[in-house]
């Protein structure tokens, strides 16, 4: 499977990559986006099987990316990996069509629990 990791922090993209590996999902092809606009464009051009997106990013926020993708008919499975896990944001994420919201700080166990059913 191809996974798009969108986060404006290179350090965090690296941590997400490392955590995917630690959670047993190391064999997947990874594509990275450094801001929301790039995430949106790569979600269309790269046709990933899953998007793991930060919420707070320059150019477009993660929720804007998700809404733009859905408005454009792109139904790629999409989940948030964000430091903000308020009920308000979880609701917004769900309403926009997100499958999950993983809060930072996360562990490999969190990834296993949430991504296991999706990545197999």
């Amino acid at each position: 499977m191809k996974i798009l990791i969108a986060d404006d922090s290179r350090v965090m993209r690296q941590i997400v990559t490392r955590t995917l590996r630690q959670a047993g999902f190391g064999g997947h092809e990874l594509v990275e986006a450094a801001d929301g606009r790039e995430a949106h464009d790569l979600a269309i051009s790269e046709k990933p099987d899953l998007v793991l997106s930060d919420w707070n990013m320059p150019e477009m926020t993660g929720i804007e990316v998700l809404r733009a993708l859905r408005a454009g008919g792109v139904n790629v499975p999409f989940g948030f990996v964000t430091s903000e896990g308020t009920d308000e944001m979880r609701q917004m994420a769900e309403q926009a069509g997100a499958l999950f919201l993983i809060t930072k700080p996360f562990t490999a166990d969190n990834f296993t629990d949430v991504l296991g059913p999706i990545l197999g």
């Binding site: 404006d8 965090m12 690296q14 430091s83 308020t86 809060t103 930072k104 700080p105």
Partner: protein, 153 residues
């Protein structure tokens, strides 16, 4: 309105250290009263909307480098200034996001701002400190503080 407390900062910090900076539990963040002196690296996120203020982390320069190398899984000497800015910015983003979850709905978190301060003062205009946590990590000082704008505090 309930404001974040030092105990909240302690709980959040413990989680961040266990997840990213000290997953093996070898080098925990130990509370102490020593604050980083100058020069130091400051990383801050602002909260606007229903609650207004700032979450600020300050690191001694060696602490900022240690944080970057731990987060990136690199040796200290390989770490660049950009790596440090990215790493401490992400740390304050994670801690700020968790602080924000204690604040009223309708608050917005900014992207992180990072600066190295060689001398002088670091001032937050019209803001008062709500709580702080000071500690040392691998014998280097790190402090975390939450500030609220006077008008909303």
């Amino acid at each position: 309105m309930t404001s974040p407390t030092t105990d909240d900062l302690q709980a959040i910090t413990e989680q961040v250290w266990l997840s990213y900076l000290d997953p093996e539990g070898i080098n925990p963040f130990l509370p102490s009263e020593e604050a980083p002196g100058m020069p130091c690296v400051i990383a801050a996120v602002s909260v606007t909307g229903a609650w207004e203020g700032h979450v600020v982390m300050s690191f001694s320069e060696p602490a900022s480098k240690l944080a970057a190398s731990a987060l990136m899984g690199m040796e200290d000497e390989e770490v660049t200034r950009d790596d440090i800015a990215d790493a401490v910015g992400e740390l304050v983003n994670v801690i700020g996001g968790n602080v924000k979850s204690l604040l009223p709905d309708g608050s917005l978190l900014s992207l992180p701002h990072v600066a190295t301060i060689d001398e002088g003062v670091n001032k937050w205009p019209a803001a008062v400190e709500v709580c702080h946590l000071r500690g040392s990590w691998q014998n280097e000082p790190i402090a975390i503080s939450v500030w609220t704008s006077k008008s909303t505090g």
